[in-house]
């Protein structure tokens, strides 16, 4: 009756409501992003001066904006931006968190103290403020906004990795590795890292919703994506100017954003239940 862990994972994942729901929502976004060219009826930057601020109708499902661009098409193309944010932002946080966390947890000492101080330092200024400052310095565009948010958010991941590393370090199998003369590097990445992979997957999926929200907020504030990008944050911000005449401009992109964030949140909770039952909260 032996089942491989991977098989077991798939079996139990079928029963996990959160995971399946999150997965379906995520796949729907993925499909929109991949087949945007086929799905969207218009190009995201194709304006039609004859149809400015059209209310939602048959030709324009979600209406048009002040330049006559089809809102539905822009939202469909916007999924690409959001997935880019999730992918790049998540990766930067993951790499920084893992490397710094492993080094600090494994070596301890001065490196560790320095990092804790740095963590305290970033703690001193609210993340959004810090991200704004970083973006100002490195320049306002989407990539920089993603970097800024990741730079502000990676510390919590590093802290978790550090704690896990410290507890693993003293376990018997690591000591066996030491006895066999494994190098520090190999111990860190071949012995400890594989053991925290499930926790890492959970951490990243839990970090994605806030990463997406913060990055979109930067775009909303005008220091992220620049026009004519179909970034949802930027679209809501544009929509505010026409809030009395065309409220749909601010509503639909926000709705798309909430749907996306929600899909990552639900997926994250499902993954947590599946991979890291001990972390299961009572909430």
């Amino acid at each position: 009756m032996y089942e491989s862990p991977i098989k077991e994972f798939f079996r139990s994942s079928l029963k996990n409501f959160n995971f399946m729901l999150g997965l379906i929502m995520f796949i729907s976004i993925l499909v929109l992003a991949v087949f945007a060219d086929q799905i969207a009826p218009y190009a995201y930057d194709a304006g039609n001066p004859a149809a400015k601020l059209t209310e939602p109708c048959k030709e324009h499902l979600f209406g048009t904006d002040e330049m006559g661009r089809d809102l539905f098409s822009r939202i469909v193309y916007g999924t690409r931006i959001t997935l880019k944010v999730a992918l790049i932002g998540g990766s930067i946080q993951l790499v920084l968190g893992v490397v710094v966390g492993l080094f600090c947890g494994y070596f301890g000492g001065v490196v560790d103290k320095a990092m804790l101080f740095l963590a305290d330092l970033t703690w001193c200024v609210p993340g959004m403020v810090m991200a704004l400052a970083v973006v100002t310095v490195i320049g306002t565009n989407l990539t920089n906004a993603i970097i800024a948010i990741a730079l502000v958010n990676w510390a919590s991941m590093a802290r978790t990795v550090r704690a896990k590393t410290m507890s693993l370090k003293n376990m018997a199998f690591i000591e066996t590795g030491v006895a066999f003369g494994e190098s520090d590097f190999s111990l860190m990445f071949r012995y400890i890292l594989p053991n925290i992979v499930p926790a890492l997957i959970v951490m990243v999926s839990m970090a994605l919703p806030s990463t997406i929200m913060s990055t979109t907020t930067l775009s909303f504030l005008g220091v992220g994506s620049q026009p004519p990008s179909p970034d949802w944050g930027l679209m809501v911000s544009d929509g505010i100017q026409y809030i009395t005449k065309a409220p749909w401009l601010a509503i639909y992109p926000g709705l798309a954003l909430v749907y996306t964030v929600l899909s990552f949140t639900i997926l994250g909770e499902g993954l947590r239940d599946l991979l890291d039952p001990r972390m299961k909260s009572q909430g």
């Binding site: 959004m128 403020v129 970083v134 926000g254």
Partner: protein, 312 residues
């Protein structure tokens, strides 16, 4: 007392480090404040002149030391490149606006979220709890700027109950504060619930029941009292974050607070103002953290001893 002094000293060190970090980050920017002041297409000589005038050609450490001296001794935060006014004059009247909003928001938020969270813990796994948890999950997925937009559309555009923007009558307060409360509500509620559940699992709750206390007495005197320790700490720690949350809300509702100024200054690359605002916020963060620690000591006798420096 010793503990507080130690925390305070550490806080000062942190604030100085942060301000230096921000200062050097802004220093690394290639001469933009100068171009901003001189206007487009100014001659190279003119640029150098301005650099000299404001001492921007000196090395980083000298400039920073000069800035820090000005701030600590003369309360001089320099001059806003954009408005050509002393930074402090710009910032001064905006601080109370932001603080007032933040404190009112925090009060309402906790007054609503804590009872809801407790109720969820007591009624765990009932329909009420599930509904509240699903709602809160959805709410944590809604960015504050969109909540603000929705509130505007619903209550300022569709029904003109409240004004769209500005900041003169009490009616102007309603929508921004609602947006602020809503954006933090779910997190606070979840925190309260998980904290209360932790306390409910403690043995002393069983003791309280075993000695014959009534349900409500146990809930108020033991569960609530002990959950409040963490919740109070959370209140203080979250205040600076609320301020940063208000950056967005202030911008949307055009409120003359610190957040609105911050955004404009960042976009205009008005660095002295940005530097000053970050400095103020980091001081506030440190103060709030010390207050949180003191609060913890006040509420938890186990910590009181170590803060008082009584033993060891």
């Amino acid at each position: 007392m010793q503990y507080v002094v130690k925390k305070l000293l550490l806080g000062i060190v942190l604030v100085i480090c942060v301000s230096f970090l921000v200062f050097s980050m802004l220093y690394m920017m290639p001469g933009s404040p100068v171009t901003l002041m001189a206007g487009e297409g100014a001659s190279l000589e003119r640029l150098e002149e301005i650099e000299k005038e404001y001492g921007l050609d000196r090395p980083l450490l000298v400039q920073y030391a000069d800035w820090l001296y000005g701030v600590t001794v003369e309360q001089d935060f320099g001059i806003s490149f954009k408005y050509r006014l002393p930074v402090w004059d710009l910032v001064e009247e905006r601080i109370p606006v932001s603080l007032r909003l933040t404190v009112i928001t925090a009060l309402i938020q906790y007054a609503v979220a804590v009872p809801l969270g407790l109720l969820c813990a007591y009624k765990k796994d009932t329909i009420f709890d599930r509904a509240a948890m699903i709602t809160s999950m959805i709410m944590t997925s809604v960015p504050s700027f969109w909540i603000s937009v929705l509130l505007m559309i619903a209550f300022a555009v569709e029904r003109q109950w409240f004004p769209l923007s500005g900041f003169s009558t009490w009616k102007h307060y309603v929508l921004p504060i609602t947006a602020g409360v809503l954006s933090g509500l779910a997190t606070t509620m979840r925190l309260t619930k998980s904290e209360a559940l932790d306390v409910l699992r403690e043995k002393y709750i069983l003791t309280a029941y075993a000695k014959g206390l009534r349900e409500n007495a146990v809930r108020c005197k033991h569960v609530l009292r002990n959950s409040l320790i963490i919740i109070c700490v959370q209140v203080f720690q979250s205040l600076p974050w609320l301020i940063s949350g208000y950056i967005i809300i202030e911008k949307i509702f055009v409120i003359p607070g610190m957040g609105g100024l911050m955004i404009t200054s960042i976009i205009n690359q008005d660095f002295n103002v940005v530097q000053c605002l970050i400095f103020l916020i980091s001081i506030m963060t440190v103060i709030c953290n010390i207050l949180a620690d003191l609060m913890l000591g006040l509420l938890d006798p186990r910590i009181r001893i170590s803060i008082g420096g009584g033993d060891k």
